[in-house]
């Protein structure tokens, strides 16, 4: 298999996702298949090919430094599950980032 169960659990943890045992088995299998398929690409010699950083054939799209309209505070907070005094309110964060 191209990916181990531990790696799947690790990625799930990074993505803040939780799965039961069966799902983990299933995903390990599926992700492994996908990776194996993608790995076909490594059969090609791409030493002369520049990496594709973007699929669009455009570069340097920029805007002028002009201040525009922001959202009203009420609207900015309207999708939040919880807010207070103009702030988004979240469970207390301990231990930095």
């Amino acid at each position: 298999m191209a990916i181990s169960r531990e790696e799947v659990l690790y990625i799930a943890k990074l993505a803040r996702l939780e799965f039961d045992r069966e799902k983990v088995e299933e995903f390990t299998h599926q992700l492994g298949k996908i990776l194996e398929y993608i790995n076909k690409l490594s059969e090609l010699d791409i030493s002369d090919v520049e990496p594709t950083y973007h699929v669009l054939d455009m570069v340097s799209v920029m805007r002028e430094d002009v201040v525009g309209q922001s959202l009203p505070q009420e609207e900015a907070l309207s999708n939040a599950p919880d807010s207070k005094d103009g702030f988004f309110r979240v469970p207390k964060i301990i231990g930095g980032e």
Binding site: V67, Q73, G86
Partner: protein, 480 residues
């Protein structure tokens, strides 16, 4: 065994654009929470970032001023992690294709000039601000006004070998950013932020020890203190036979110590990948050269010119060039009266001494550069003594006014008339028979005391050389 420290700094500088880096929300500080936000900087689905041209110009200028090579092609990347001040779940940054690389700046240490290499300069967006509830309050409060404000990250090579050098490096960065006008770079306001990587090794070794990362140092003094503490801590760990652990530590300014924030196994895995919402940034040579031509005379260029043109030491030049305003002040004074060394002294010792004590800068000086020049001229011409000069300077600083007027008004003109001084000399000889006897018995050093007495009588106005000469003549005459 002696140890040496190996320090590398990661510095974030806020660019002073009017709008954010990927949306048109204002960057103005101090607005009510969550009023400078829009779908882009709130990370709402379907919104797309568009790069601010001014931010690119500022970043390129900064890179050039740091002697970096600007990469004509750079690519934005997503740095993935979860934290409430990061609405998208990733920060737009640059990773394998940064804006600029391989620069350096020079700092002036007690041992002379030292070059600190810069590994890279890249662009990224700032995160929001969290305010943690106090006491029993189980909540944190998030303000996203700062999310999306443009930053550059400046990563140094581990060329810094002491806490003091780290402070000098940061101060130099601030000076450069202010000179080129891309940031106010005030640490207290968070416009310049610094993380440090620090390790120790036996002196002379070329191996790198295990490093710790330090965070939460929000002033130059705190950076220096945190590093001093951390270096001492690592040395005692090693000397007690232990091993330094790779971890992130937080500086606790109240206790004056660093504390574990997270261990190595808890370190982030950012899973960078190219930002699909932004096309690569491709600059032309012409654009880069335009930015270069807009740069003013940089601090180091100015410093070298001050050394050549005014004959000042490297240290003095570094101090006088620490801000554009101070350098301009000095040059204005020198152009009013040509004694660069004396003027440098008065500006650095008397003026900066007083201003620093009041946490002011030269733009708030109550004394004009021309007035400093005039004061030096009065001393050079012998109108007043250096000592009286300090008195005049004090009056100028506290009450204002031109030095000439003060000297006249307060009757501070130096007494250079031998006849007048002789009167005081005679008085002192009559009043101090003991000291005179000592002198006559060969203890000629006592003349210093007698000169002092004459100066006291004349309130410091007598020409000290003349007093010395007259006293000596009189006393020698008494020996006969």
């Amino acid at each position: 065994m002696g140890y040496e420290a190996v320090i590398g700094l990661e510095v974030h500088v806020q660019l002073s654009t009017k709008s954010k880096v990927f949306c048109s929300c204002s960057t103005e500080f101090g607005a009510p929470p969550n009023t400078h936000v829009c779908p882009v900087c709130l990370g709402m689905p379907g919104s797309l970032p568009v790069l601010n041209k001014k931010a690119v110009e500022y970043a390129v200028k900064a890179a050039l001023a740091l002697n970096c090579r600007v990469n004509l092609k750079s690519v934005f990347a997503r740095k993935n992690y979860f934290y409430p001040d990061l609405p998208k779940g990733y920060q737009i940054s640059q990773y394998d294709m940064p804006l600029a690389e391989d620069g350096y700046i020079e700092i002036e240490t007690e041992k002379g000039s030292k070059r600190i290499r810069i590994k890279r300069v890249h662009m990224e967006e700032d995160a929001g601000k969290n305010i943690h509830g106090e006491g029993d309050d189980p909540f944190s409060y998030v303000d996203l006004n700062r999310a999306g404000v443009p930053l550059i990250e400046i990563v140094s090579e581990p060329d810094i070998s002491s806490p003091e050098e780290a402070r000098l490096y940061l101060q130099k960065l601030r000076t450069i950013m202010r000179y080129i006008g891309v940031s106010n770079a005030d640490m207290e306001k968070g416009e310049l932020r610094c993380d440090a990587n620090v390790s120790i090794r036996p002196k002379g070794s070329d191996k790198l020890g295990t490093k710790t990362e330090l965070k939460n140092m929000n002033s130059f003094r705190h950076v220096q203190r945190a590093l001093e503490y951390e270096i001492e801590r690592q040395i005692s760990v090693v000397e007690e036979g232990g091993q330094v652990e790779q971890e992130t530590r937080l500086w606790n300014p109240h206790l004056g110590i660093t504390e574990t924030m997270r261990k190595k196994e808890e370190e982030h895995d950012y899973r960078y990948f190219p930002e699909p919402d932004l096309v690569p940034l491709v600059l032309t040579e012409q654009f880069v050269e335009n930015m270069r031509s807009e740069l003013p005379e940089l601090p180091d260029e100015k410093k070298k010119r001050f050394m050549d043109q005014y004959g000042l030491s490297a240290y003095d030049s570094e101090v006088l060039c620490s801000s554009r305003e101070l350098a301009d002040y000095y040059e204005k004074a020198v152009s009013a009266y040509n004694n660069p060394k004396a003027i440098a002294n008065w500006v650095m010792v008397e003026l900066l001494g007083r201003l620093n004590k009041e946490s002011k800068d030269v733009t708030q000086s109550p004394i004009k550069p021309e007035q400093v020049a005039k004061l030096v001229e009065l001393i050079d011409k012998g109108t007043i003594s250096g000592k009286i000069g300090k008195q005049v300077f004090d009056i100028m600083y506290k009450e204002g006014g031109d030095p000439e007027a003060i000297v006249k008004e307060k009757g501070l003109v130096q007494i250079t008339d031998a006849g007048e001084i002789e009167k005081f000399v005679d008085e002192v000889i009559a009043e101090c028979p003991e000291e005179v006897q000592k002198y006559l018995k060969g203890k000629t050093k006592v003349i210093g005391y007698l000169v002092g007495q004459v100066m006291k009588k004349t309130k410091g106005k007598a020409n000290p050389q003349l007093v010395n000469k007259l006293l000596r003549e009189k006393l020698e005459g008494m020996k006969g």
